[in-house]
């Protein structure tokens, strides 16, 4: 059964101090060619029946993302592509 994946990212104009902290740590790994890092959240949703993308968008808009500061995308993936299936 396909799984719904919701990716939530801070809007570009919202400062991401976590991403900045990670970017600032990269030179310690010897990495000097990274311009910026931004951190978001990936949420995997399994429906009991057929995946319902409209329902998933509603869930994302009302709960998973805060539209004041975040954007989200909703997509279907086959379960063998997801993190849970790989582990």
């Amino acid at each position: 059964m396909p799984r719904v994946v919701v990716d939530v990212m801070l809007k570009p104009e919202i400062l991401d101090p976590q991403g900045q902290a990670v970017a600032n740590a990269l030179p310690r790994l010897g990495v000097s060619d990274v311009a910026s890092v931004r951190i978001g959240r990936r949420i995997e949703i399994d429906f009991t029946g057929e995946p319902d993308l409209d329902r998933a968008r509603e869930i994302a808009d009302k709960l998973l993302a805060n539209p004041v500061i975040e954007d989200f995308t909703v997509r279907l993936v086959e379960t063998d592509e997801t993190a849970g299936a790989r582990s």
């Binding site: 104009e13 101090p17 709960l63 805060n66 004041v68």
Partner: protein
């Protein structure tokens, strides 16, 4: 008759006890409200206390917003019920869209815990009418996600309409835009504040008694409010 002020306890609330005590010291009767009970038990006002409701999972306040008690509070607040959200309570009010904007991770990523000077800028709200315009007060601040953000149009509207209730003085502890520490809705009955007035109501435990003004304000407001 003594005013009844509800204090909500969510799973993970920390400052509900102090908020109830502040209500009592101000001269009102605190009424403990439970997140799972949609009934407000006839209270005249509500405090959403600080803490880490639902473990701050997903985003601070994002899950508390859907608690049964919040659905009743959102409706009642739209009808004029005075609601004060402190710290996590402020985050919940923003998540519930009773207040504009959002509270994000402190810009420097550190948890900030100190006594903080604020300037009270709007004394027309249900929770600040006991202060003088421009009054400087000292109350504790303690947050990890207290950085207030909103788009420029929202910030300009808040300032233009006198809805910035308090600003940080002597150093912004979290990077909040325009040093905003507290805001109100258009009607002035809903106030969100990041620092903690309920921790500054007794000489034994607080840096001042300045926090008491928020709680005496609502009593003044309720006496003056039409029944």
């Amino acid at each position: 008759m003594t005013a009844r002020v509800g204090v909500v306890t969510f799973p993970g609330s920390l400052d509900d006890g102090d908020a109830a005590r502040a209500v009592r010291i101000a001269g009102a009767e605190p009424v403990r409200l439970w997140h799972g009970d949609p009934e407000l038990h006839g209270v005249d006002a509500v405090v959403l206390p600080g803490g880490f409701s639902y473990g701050d999972y997903l985003r601070c306040g994002a899950i508390a917003r859907f608690a049964p008690v919040m659905e009743t509070i959102v409706d009642a607040a739209r009808g004029g019920l005075p609601v004060l959200g402190i710290c996590n309570g402020f985050q919940i009010l923003c998540e519930a869209h009773l207040l504009p904007g959002a509270l994000t991770r402190n810009q420097h990523l550190h948890f900030r815990n100190r006594d903080q000077v604020l300037r009270v800028e709007s004394v027309g709200t249900a929770w600040t009418n006991a202060f003088q315009p421009g009054q400087e007060i000292l109350i504790p601040v303690k947050n990890g996600e207290g950085c207030y953000v909103a788009d420029t149009a929202t910030l300009d509207a808040l300032e233009g309409e006198g809805r910035v209730v308090a600003r940080y003085l002597g150093g912004n502890p979290n990077g909040s835009q325009r040093d905003i520490a507290a805001i109100t809705n258009a009607a002035g009955n809903v106030v969100g504040i990041m620092p903690h007035p309920e921790h500054a109501v007794e000489a034994l435990t607080g840096p001042s008694l300045d926090g008491l003004g928020f709680f005496t304000s609502v009593l003044k407001h309720l006496v003056g409010a039409p029944a």
